[in-house]
Symmetry: C2
Subunit: 453 residues, 2 copies
């Protein structure tokens, strides 16, 4: 019998509650403000966008929030998700560290995103909603919401950032297979989209613009709500199922992570794996470092300003205090589309300010290098986003080697790269560069931050 | 608690032996003949192509052949594979039948192919081989051998049918991510490839031609062997892990299949799920029908001739008695590339002659329809090849509905369609047709069958 590399939970070990870190934080995260009044928003302000169950989760201070049985029933298609020990990668690196990864690519949509798409579709269906609108960049979120919509009988419309819409027709085909309608953003279907196209007819789009378009449609119709795949408290809450499962699996492996790592764009998969461990430490349990890995080309946590900002380019959303590059920031066209967001989740940002979260940024070429090494050792081809977490884990393992420390490293492999092979192709062809990324000029876009006293 | 839909085995329930149907057949399959002497081939004849362990498996009459521990160790990355009950699909069809599917797309390469790629790489490495050459059509087999080679330190070279090489650059990128070299076939790297290109410079290629090229290279160098992803006895043997696991899972579900269904190109995933059930029936256990579903555009089992034929277009391989469309047959360019092979595995053909296997053929458009319906119910987007099995299962379920029978249907979902979304895209755009497929003219290519007394 060889050494164990896979740690599987029984179905009945699937968590019954999401973990809400707000219950354990020493100080609460700053309030979300209404952009007009600059007063804290209440549930009523959010009601045009989200069903009440999700709004209540957004503001809840309860430590545990029950996962509804119909949601757990769908989760059983792929959850509990496996946790692996990357023994072949350890050997390649010659590190004394133990490297574990939690693999979320086993979901039908291929990433962690269905962890929140399923409950969001469920709560919307329960409240009588017929149609969900959303935005997507690389397409992982759009795919996941399309999948969730097909299971709960909801119509799903996805505003996809135009550059991805054009470059990734296969991702669109997946969304259509699940029955969703996909629209290139900026589009002619919204006032805001038309205003952008008027000024710049060939605008490549951005997540911020796509959000504005989706929000605009959602508020117009009673039977239509908006769904967001990251950033918001309830989204991060839903993702904590990752970390909670991982905690059980680390016990099975008879160890505990010294450091927990995730890639961070909006922050949801990072929070999903890290928050349960942070909370464990805050409640007196063994502490783990929590390390967010972001792209050098969109470095909100490492180079952004901690300030109130809009979540979208059209300045329709409430104001959230977060690490931001400015809502008018357009990140360079690098290949981890899921990490191309100007801001960071409020709760992740707050944890960074509290010293509970560290952050580091890497360039895309070194992240692809890490991903290819990982694939050749462990068999799974990671999504470009996940490559950032792989890179972070490898760097920690090499540090352990230098320091002669046998630490335990845990990272979230948030998804597979099956729909992102064009980026790998460019990487192999030597067509990817990091040029200009270090010189990303933030001054201009930060100047546009809203004035909040 | 909702009704169970997923049946998972423990890791220690993973089969320790492959099942060899040759031990249970009432009459042995016809011998494989040397193309020159027309005498049965012996192990020595095959030694230039395969390591001795695989040759011995090819001719073994033992019922159980042990799976080596290093192979099981790699299998643990994704095996045992899950078995699901398709309750949402049953509801959609309104059938009294129970539909189960065994999902092989959980492997890192996304299909059942690693079940044989891993042991083939292992036995080759054990015997001192440094390089494996093979062919691939759609790319599932090439991806799997590339994956296996990366784990066992073997150089892998893949001759990919040119039309797929050009149409599916992403599949090639996956093979390169695993470190394999990919060559469009027909190529200038072999005598046979050059001879084809001389006559037809823009030849689209075929599996038969790619096999000829790979075989030609393999016999030239001592440290190089050939690997085949379907058709051969040892390949079918390796795939029986699918059916063996499924038998345990059917027991967990407290039922037994009335019919076991798989798509059939070369026959390996079909044999993998069906042979253990057929053997169970032959040994006095409860009998199950075994139904192979093939494409109407390449209908070897339903319209081919049961005769001795070559496995490749270049006529380099031994002669095998099988259902064949003729080794010079070039199937029309339909989208289930993995089913574009002129012949059927000898053991599957023999079982068909013995009345142990039934066959049916469907057109590609109706198969895509079935696959999309499945994806919207069950969340998994099937490979175009697997869509044939889905279609077969749906038709059986509708027959049960007409006949008012609550039968149990089991099918093999051999892989996901993540690398095949271009075909789905064409399906949605209405660009797929079945035109001309029923008129596939077999007379000419069957005239070219070798004369065997």
């Amino acid at each position: 019998m060889s050494e164990q590399t896979k740690y599987l939970l029984e179905e009945n070990q699937m968590p019954r509650f999401w973990y809400n870190i707000q219950a354990d934080l020493p100080t609460p995260a700053p309030a979300v403000l209404h952009p007009g009044t600059l007063q804290p928003v209440g549930p009523a302000d959010l009601a045009p966008l989200f069903p009440m169950d999700l709004i209540l989760q957004e503001v809840s201070q309860e430590r545990e929030i029950e996962i509804p049985e119909p949601v757990r029933d769908v989760f059983r298609l792929w959850r509990p998700a496996p946790l692996y020990r990357a023994r072949r990668l350890e050997k390649l690196l010659g590190t004394p560290a133990k490297i574990f990864y939690k693999y979320e690519g086993v979901s039908p949509a291929g990433s962690h995103k269905p962890n929140t798409a399923i409950p969001q579709a469920f709560y919307n269906q329960q409240s009588g909603v017929k149609r969900l609108v959303t935005e997507t960049g690389a397409g992982q979120w759009g795919t996941s919401l399309a999948f969730a919509g097909s299971l709960f009988g909801l119509t799903v419309e996805v505003f996809q950032v135009r550059v991805s819409y054009d470059q990734k027709p296969y991702r669109r085909a997946v969304m259509e297979t699940y029955g969703a309608r996909c629209v290139a953003s900026p589009s002619m279907e919204t006032v805001f989209g038309r205003s952008v196209l008027e000024k710049t007819p060939d605008h490549p789009g951005s997540l911020g613009i796509a959000i504005s378009e989706a929000v605009e449609l959602a508020v117009q119709r009673e039977d239509t709500k908006y769904a967001l795949g990251s950033v918001l408290n309830h989204v991060l809450l839903h993702q904590t199922i990752i970390g909670q499962e991982a905690m059980e699996q680390m016990k099975m492996a008879d160890t505990w992570p010294d450091v927990v790592i995730g890639c961070a764009g909006g922050g949801s998969n990072f929070a999903g794996i890290a928050f349960p461990f942070i909370g464990h430490g805050l409640r007196g349990g063994q502490k783990s470092r929590a390390l967010a890995v972001e792209p050098a080309a969109c470095p909100s946590l490492t180079r952004g300003k901690y300030a109130y900002d809009f979540g979208d380019t059209g300045r329709m959303t409430p104001l959230t205090k977060m690490h931001t590059l400015g809502s008018q920031f357009t990140p360079p066209g690098f290949h981890a589309g899921g990490l191309r967001y100007h801001g960071m989740a409020s709760l992740v940002s707050h944890c960074k300010e509290l010293g509970l979260v560290e952050a580091v940024a890497y360039h895309q070429v070194e992240c692809f290098e890490a991903g290819v090494a990982f694939a050749r050792c462990e068999g799974i081809v990671p999504a470009p986003e996940s490559n950032h977490a792989v890179k972070g884990a490898i760097e920690e393992a090499l540090r352990c080697k230098r320091e002669g420390k046998a630490e335990t490293i845990l990272f979230c492999l948030s998804g597979h790269g099956h729909f992102d092979m064009a980026s790998y192709q460019k990487y192999f062809a030597g067509e990817l560069t990091d040029e200009g990324y270090d010189e990303v000029d933030l001054a201009a876009s930060l100047l546009g931050l809203p004035q909040v006293p």
